[in-house]
Subunit: 781 residues, 2 copies
């Protein structure tokens, strides 16, 4: 491990690969495996992107269509990111992908290079040579941050991809052929269904420039995406095929509009370009995108990739990754190094930039807006990411936090609902999952004193959002003190999450000195108590008459009032008031015992099959790590005075729920939340209750780590006596002073310094007994 | 007739109706009948609009859908403008209409006020009370320039409409009702078919503002239109209905998004607003539109109608009409006064403004552009309007001519085809009809020395357009010297029109001193000779081997190589070289005799049924006035030295092909071409060959007319000895000097002065015998 060699040394040791800038950062990219999570349910993609980039240029390994009449389509679900590691054909390369989501969309503008007979149908993976798709082998495939390459066996074409923020860069090395082709298929899409393509529009502006747009109605209901495609080799012969049915266009079809005619439009357009190529001839494509216009897509492309040097763009992409990855210089044993940096890589894939180089972006009102003083972001999968991903950004991406909050605020302003985003998706609100967790991100940023956004505006938006009575039971929740299950389903989960969100508002109100709101939201944040069923010891759905939902099946996730979790997992969801919940349960021992049961009980497979994205891999006992509601649970032992059990469980989760390789993730990565959980936990602390300034101490997996803060300071984590067996904490010290507390604060990190763990094979069962050292709990202990 | 009373007198005589401006113009609007042409095939609309306005707010009397599998759908064709006078129900009021077109589109954003049970289906005209439509009676209907009113019998609601350039203003007077409604139906459209609505999007921004857009694929393939709708009465209760099928949207339908939920989107959205109204309560709606964004639609609305005073807006609209109508102060006998001003009104309905108040507009590249120094126009139905409408504008709307040429030039620049418009249609080229007649408009403007546009740029665009080889046989035409019928249909018509267009380019080249182009296009403009069949005496389609199209049926319009005309009518289409054509025919007598035959021969009905928009009403003998190719023919007698026959025919055409009333037009008004023909002819002269500076003298129908020129001068037409029987010209004088010439020049008009006709019941058969007095002919006589 050479990462402590002074940076200037690298400047001499490593050849100057980049023309435009010196190498400044250690090559942490070498530890990143973009294939991690591409098998089974990780839903990550292996393609080329830069940190938080708008373009994710990645291969598609199949075409599957949604059956809108079916309730649920497992096949489509497998292709949330377009790529499944077990497939052996590649359909083409598209420019937009979500990382790790549990529903999906995108897959815009498929490019496929082929030779021989022109095929405009992608074909079928069971009869691979039937369409334009190609067989490939993982032996001829490679991926690293900002770069992807594969040999397309059917055509003997080597495909290489890299990217900038808003532009994909393709390089195809062709064999000698009189019949080489580039296919641009605008019909392809992820989570496709008949009718998803609302409109497609293509223009051949000149012999190297193609522009156009696509409008889709999928997870995002009204989504526009524009492109500009520049080819290195002039186009002489090309054509279009319109796949959708007949339309009225007057009776004027007097001239051929399918062959070498420079414009096409329709619901489903495909384009092909014919070339003749020499052996090893390279055809390169720069492909800019924009949510605003094709003009802006071209501007993005020209600004970001002025020349044709693929390797330079690729090297710059890697350097961007190294810059961001270097914010945590960590040392972990063996293969865990790869796990750590792959997780950090995944944490930087979302949210995604959603404005053009000049600041233009499309708002939810479908009007074009301009982000003068901030970078606009989209892809806020907030139900997932408010837990650990956004808190991680408050430590190592503070500038982006303010940009993200500003993005949420313009979303709020431009939203006709006057709500902060639930799931912000390219100028659309897709309403995915529950809660209004943007308020958590905002409260966290306010309470941690992050700058660059208007506190009052943000607070006001949080208040308005929490009073959008039409939304998902908020009005009912305010009226009844809980969401009644008979009037709005998944009511127990909603009540719990609204309680936490309201606590977040309460905490910000306190910081800002808003007394009225502080009082109001204090009360609202205790709503969870209204659905605690003392007779069963669970948080349980209740109807509008005050009757408990029956029959009660605490292991089931179906029709019990929970979503993506059962009563066991969801009942612990009181991150802001663990002490209050412990009291409800009957004390610390009851809490510890219940937590132990969760992690150790046997649960029949059938219960996991009920849940839409959890496999047995993502489970320890009845603890479900593959879904987010449980992510804080292992840390709750600390709140009950048994931090050694937290240490044990965290160690177990890190060692069993995460691994390297395509099947490295035990569930959807969920836009980085699963990965951010690992980053925090491996560093030895975790934000159980975002909005507090506390990170609860778990058990580190790093031997050493230096966190480079944006204020110029460094926060070091050092783990003494590190070994596989020494999973318990013997002692913690902060800046050389012994730390009895079970948490560290955000301010302590920001001041820089050293957090030192001394590990042991023996648990310290006395640690944490003293309640004054325990983490924040609203009602105390 | 008081029109010679000095203008200042009116300022004192007429009460000041308008708050914002003084009345300056005589009320020629009183002579305009917006119902003219609304019966049968005139295809005009009776609703409210201002001169060249982007908004045409007008009633729809039925919903008909196109059968895409059928060849031709007569029902749809009848509703090109949404309104048929014979209907007795009104479906609602929409904001956009073409005037007099022969295919159609638009009919955007239908508003219908109703009471009682909410109906969201328009119902059927045969069972009128089945849907939201209402029975109405012409007795309770009225229309005048800028205003339309009707009583909706089913609901006892009085509907009144007025408009500004970009905003419609609705005023509905309700009865007392607990169940009053406003329907906003985004599904309705003219020339509708299943799938025409590509997308609709609506937001309730607050309790008086609704915004949204619609995207359609009809005659315009990729058309966006945005709106902002402001209501005078706050909305409390509303809902949406989505008429299209199911779509994927994740599985998140947890809350009611149909009732009082402020956003809806889908292929087919309808909205309703519920009110309770008092007796005679007025609900007013201001409805702004834009091709750019809903933000701009709102800006247009706010700029153009800041207040709520319906009558003021209505009065201003009328005043705008009076201003434009007053450019020709004409006196005609009796009912002809109405015919003249209704024709002038129709001449000012197209082209239509296509930019927002700030200059923004959508280009053919779908990007948003800005018209800094000109007003951008759309709705260029050039195959029709280059003949008389655009030449009319060169006399009385010179500023608009330069704006229109500039609009054509940006169309050219933004078009991926690098072609001037064929049929420019809201950021789309709909390719309707043949030729590249924009070059005629440009050459005419250059040759007449109109200013305000870049001659070189315009000339260059004309050259490029005429060399767009992919377009409709241009490449073939250049190669063969004619369009071969076997390779491209309607080839005779195309060859003729390309010849004329090429002459127009030749003439501009001459003006601009472009010697090479002058020579090239001189040759191209003689191409018509390549398809003159001396054996039959007709212009006739020829194949690529030089064989005449056979069997030859000179009366048929079907499959003979002509479009909207037969061999008889089309063969005279050599407006730039009548002399050359006369020589081909064998001399003047042959020409006169052939013209006589055309006007007098008997043609079986079946031939007119073949033609898509000609009825027996639009025909004299075999002369078809209802379609444009013949519009110059009656003037051709003058070229053969028999102007007295021109006088006779013109008089006949004016008296039989035009009349007042709903059935006043003998065919489609074609965006004002039919009407402009009448204006010119009634004034006594006509632009047979636009691009020359000549107007060929016919026979006036005005007793007097003053043409107010934009250079401040006046050109007077005076007709002495005027009577119904005195249809022949005895003498013409210009500024008191006897005019032997059979034409006047543009410069003569522009200098101001007096053109005096002395009429007689006896033809002057000697007039015009001298060839030097005859109008321009390229090859001479």
């Amino acid at each position: 491990m050479k990462k402590y060699i002074p940076l200037f040394v690298f400047c001499f040791l490593i050849p100057l690969l980049l023309l435009s800038q010196e190498i400044k950062y250690f090559d942490y990219s070498a530890y990143v495996d973009p294939f991690s999570g591409t098998k089974n349910m990780g839903h990550t993609y292996p393609g080329a992107t830069v940190p938080f980039g708008m373009v994710q240029l990645s291969p598609e390994t199949d075409t599957v269509h949604f059956d809108l009449n079916g309730k649920y389509n497992e096949d489509v679900y497998r292709y949330c990111s377009g790529y499944q590691y077990e497939d052996n054909t590649i359909v083409g390369f598209t420019h937009t992908h979500f990382s790790g989501t549990g529903h999906s969309d995108l897959g815009d503008f498929l490019i496929m290079p082929t030779t021989g007979e022109i095929k405009l149908n992608p074909g079928n993976k069971f009869t691979p040579h039937s369409g334009y798709r190609s067989v490939f082998s993982h032996a001829n495939e490679s991926a690293s941050p900002g770069y992807y390459s594969v040999l397309l066996d059917d055509y003997d074409i080597k495909a290489e991809l890299t990217a900038t923020e808003r532009t994909g860069f393709h390089k195809y090395t062709f064999p000698e052929s009189e019949a080489s082709h580039i296919i641009l298929d605008l019909c392809y899409g992820i989570y496709n269904y008949d009718g998803k393509n609302v409109w497609t529009f293509v223009r051949v502006e000149n012999d190297t420039l193609i522009t156009g747009f696509k409008m889709t109605s999928g997870w995002a209901r009204t989504r526009f995406i524009y492109f500009a495609m520049v080819l290195s080799k002039p186009i002489k012969d090309y054509g279009f095929k319109r796949e959708d049915g007949s339309v009225y266009r007057g009776f004027w079809r007097r001239f051929n509009q399918e062959k070498n005619f420079p414009e096409a439009a329709g619901r489903e357009i495909k384009m092909f370009i014919n070339y003749s190529t020499k052996q090893n001839e390279e055809i390169k494509i720069k492909f800019g995108i924009s949510g605003v216009s094709s003009e802006n897509a071209l501007m993005n492309l020209r600004e970001e990739i002025p020349g044709w040097d693929f390797d330079t763009v690729k090297d710059i992409a890697r350097e961007k990754w190294n810059k961001e990855l270097s914010k945590v210089e960590a040392e972990l044993p063996g293969e865990k190094m790869k796990m750590f940096y792959t997780s950090l890589y995944h944490s930087y894939l979302s949210p995604t930039i959603y404005n053009d180089v000049n600041g233009d972006y499309r708002g939810l009102d479908m009007n074009i807006h301009h982000s003068k003083d901030f970078t606009n972001y989209s892809t806020f999968s907030l139900w997932d990411t408010y837990r650990a991903l956004h808190p991680l950004f408050t430590v190592i991406q503070q500038k982006r936090v303010s940009d993200m909050v500003n993005s949420m605020l313009v979303h709020y302003e431009q939203s006709v609902h006057k709500m902060l985003p639930v799931w912000s998706h390219q100028a659309n609100e897709n309403w995915c999952m529950i809660g209004y967790h943007a308020v958590s991100v905002i409260a966290d940023a306010i309470n941690k004193k992050l700058t660059g956004f208007d506190y009052n505006k943000a607070f006001d938006a949080a208040i308005k959002t929490s009073n959008a009575d039409f939304y998902d039971g908020i009005g009912l929740y305010k009226k009844y003190g809980y969401v009644p299950e008979d009037l709005n389903s998944n009511s127990a989960s909603k009540t719990l999450e609204y309680s936490y969100d309201d606590w977040a508002i309460y905490s910000a109100a306190k910081t800002l000195g808003m007394k009225n709101e502080e009082n109001d939201y204090y009360k609202r944040s205790l709503s969870y108590k209204n659905i605690f069923d003392a007779s069963t010891g669970f948080i349980r759905a209740k109807d509008s008459k005050g009757e408990w939902k029956s029959p009660f099946a605490p292991l089931s996730t179906l029709n019990q009032g929970y979503i993506e979790g059962n009563a066991w997992n969801y009942s612990f969801y009181v991150p802001h008031d663990a002490g209050g919940y412990i009291k409800l349960l009957g004390g610390e021992n009851a809490m510890i015992s219940k937590l132990d049961s969760l992690f150790t009980m046997y649960v029949d497979d059938k219960y996991f099959k009920e849940s839409e994205d959890v496999t047995r891999d993502g489970v320890i006992g009845n603890y479900v790590h593959g879904n987010e509601p449980s992510h804080h649970i292992a840390y709750l032992y600390a709140y009950a005075g048994a931090p050694w059990k937290t240490q044990e469980r965290i160690n177990l989760i890190m060692n069993t729920m995460y691994k390297n390789g395509p099947d490295g993730l035990c569930g959807n990565d969920d836009c980085g939340q699963m990965s951010a959980w690992y980053i925090f936990s491996a560093l030895g602390f975790y934000p159980v209750c975002p909005g507090t300034n506390e990170y609860v101490i778990g058990a580190p997996q790093v031997k050493k780590a230096v966190i480079y803060l944006e204020n110029g300071k460094k926060f070091n984590v050092v783990t003494d006596n590190y070994s596989e067996n020494n999973i318990y904490i013997k002692e913690v010290s902060l800046n050389g002073i012994k730390l009895e507390r079970l948490f560290i604060t955000h301010e302590e990190i920001m001041q820089g310094g050293e957090l030192r763990f001394v590990m042991s094979s023996v648990p310290d069962k006395e640690r944490g007994k003293n309640k004054e050292y325990r983490p924040y709990s609203m009602s105390g202990y």
